[in-house]
Amino acid sequence: MSCAQTIQDYALRSIGYGERLLPREDYTLCEQFTLIGSGMIWNVYYGLVALLFGFFAATGLAMAKNSTNSWLRKPAEFFIYVFRGSPLFIQFFFAYAVFLSLKQSFPILQPLTSAWLGATLVLFFNTAAYSAEIFYGALRSIPKGDLEAADAYGITGWNRFKRITWPTMLRLAWPSYTNEAIFLFHGTALVSFSSFPVRGQKGDALYYASYFADKTFNPFIPYPILAFYFILLTLMVITVYGMIGKRLNRHLPQATIRRPSFMRTLFR
């Protein structure tokens, strides 16, 4: 079977398209690359969804933690403390157990016990808590002068938040937030061990990698492939976040020194 054929059969295997049976013996390098890569679709999905929703939740949580109203502050502090203080792995197990018992009382909650919703929900809570702590730290370190200037111009309330507080907070938090995004994508690798069931062998990247490692008893091929994919993903995250960070900082004086142009130096 040629490699193009393999890619055609297995590239979308993890979401249920293509060949139903996984290869059984004589695993080729191409098969391993394709299947593990197809599993990465799930990892990217978990990471993107959790990041997208987690970002807004984190902003809200950070504002709540920073507020003077203790009815808002205390719950936010507690939420952040619980999710930052306990391991993600335990959170997965605990959440799965809770979802299972919820399902028995309310059958409508059935999708919570499957990975596409349940695991994403846990990752969402987790990243919301971590990012909220980062955003909270950034909120605390917004230059006092910026807020005073806003007051002096009569910018208050929602307008002040939208134009002054929020952009400055993001700008200050961005480097640490990049780190958090990288860790979140690494955290998605845990999903395949978190007792959320895999139906019809539609698993994530680590599921396929450990499938190959178990079958061949040779960890030296599937895990480096997985590592390769994750390094690629990390590089992509760094690039995208770097671009956003540059845009957030575009109004600031840049550190680069503008050299006089070549012709100017020539005819001086």
């Binding site: 335990i90 018992s101 990698a209 061949t216 008893f217």
Partner: protein
């Protein structure tokens, strides 16, 4: 009973891993700082690769890889006249004397061997993070201190051990305390390495017991057990947070930093 002693397993793992990982980190940081190019590339490559890949992938990879590496070395040393290839298709075959642990040895040797493999894996992974922290801390020590040491005629080695190493800890502490928190939260992954730790027992004991097989039949108790673990980890992290606060105060004493300066002023 085994459930309670498994809490001790986690604590023992933490107690052994932390110093070993620090040692790995110290070696990595000194290597990365070295003026001998291959050595510094080795140190930098070690930190870059381990940090770019999810730790769980390393846990899965190293345990099998280390096991096979040890067995391979022993095989070469003990049975030199073994003619068959070691990798026979999907099997990894070594001679009986090279098996680790020997198949005749008692149960506890097997358990200890598994545990020490886990410790080594943790140390390799977290050593890379520690190396990064210590490398940054070594760079953060004010240049003037090192120049003064040179002016007094200390050799390179003396400067390193007497000036740089004692001073770097205060700069390394925030990073190291962060790392300790991450280490605590990584311990449930032990379960994946085949050590019978708290997650293992929580899964075993919490599972549904039917009256046929057990004296104490009960339903699915996973939620309660995992909630217990959640509380255990929360306690562990908050206690260590408090301890680190104390150590920071101790270490800032008499240092040329803002915290040290504040202490000096308060004492006057």
């Amino acid at each position: 009973m085994a459930f309670y002693s498994s809490f001790a397993t986690v604590l023992v793992l933490l107690a052994i891993t932390a110093p070993v990982a620090l040692l790995f980190g110290f070696a990595g940081a000194t290597a990365a700082r070295s003026r001998f190019l291959p050595l510094s590339l080795l140190g930098k490559g070690y930190t870059a690769i381990v940090r770019g890949v999810p730790d769980i992938v390393f846990f899965m990879f190293f345990v099998i890889a280390l096991d096979q590496a040890f067995e391979y070395l022993r095989h070469k040393a003990k049975c030199p006249d073994w003619s068959e290839p070691i990798r026979q298709g999907n099997d990894f075959v070594v001679c009986a004397q090279a098996k680790l642990p020997l198949s005749t040895s008692p149960q506890w040797v097997h358990e200890t061997y598994g545990f020490s493999l886990a410790v080594l894996t943790f140390a390799i992974v977290f050593g890379a993070f520690a190396a990064n922290v210590l490398f940054g801390a070594m760079k953060a020590v004010p240049r003037a201190q090192l120049e003064t040491a040179e002016a007094y005629g200390m050799s390179h080695r003396q400067t390193f051990w007497r000036i740089l190493v004692p001073q770097m800890w205060v700069y390394a502490l925030p990073g190291l305390s962060n790392l300790w928190m991450i280490l605590i939260k990584a311990t449930p992954l032990l379960f994946l390495l085949g050590v019978e730790d708290i997650v293992y027992w929580a899964r075993e004991l919490g599972a549904t017991k039917s009256p046929k097989f057990s004296d104490y039949p009960h339903g699915n108790w996973h939620a309660y057990y995992f909630f217990g673990l959640l509380v255990f980890y929360l306690m562990l992290t908050s206690v260590s947070e408090r301890v680190f606060k104390r150590i920071t105060v101790r270490l800032s004493h008499g240092q040329a930093t803002a915290a040290g300066e504040a202490q000096r002023k308060a004492a006057q």
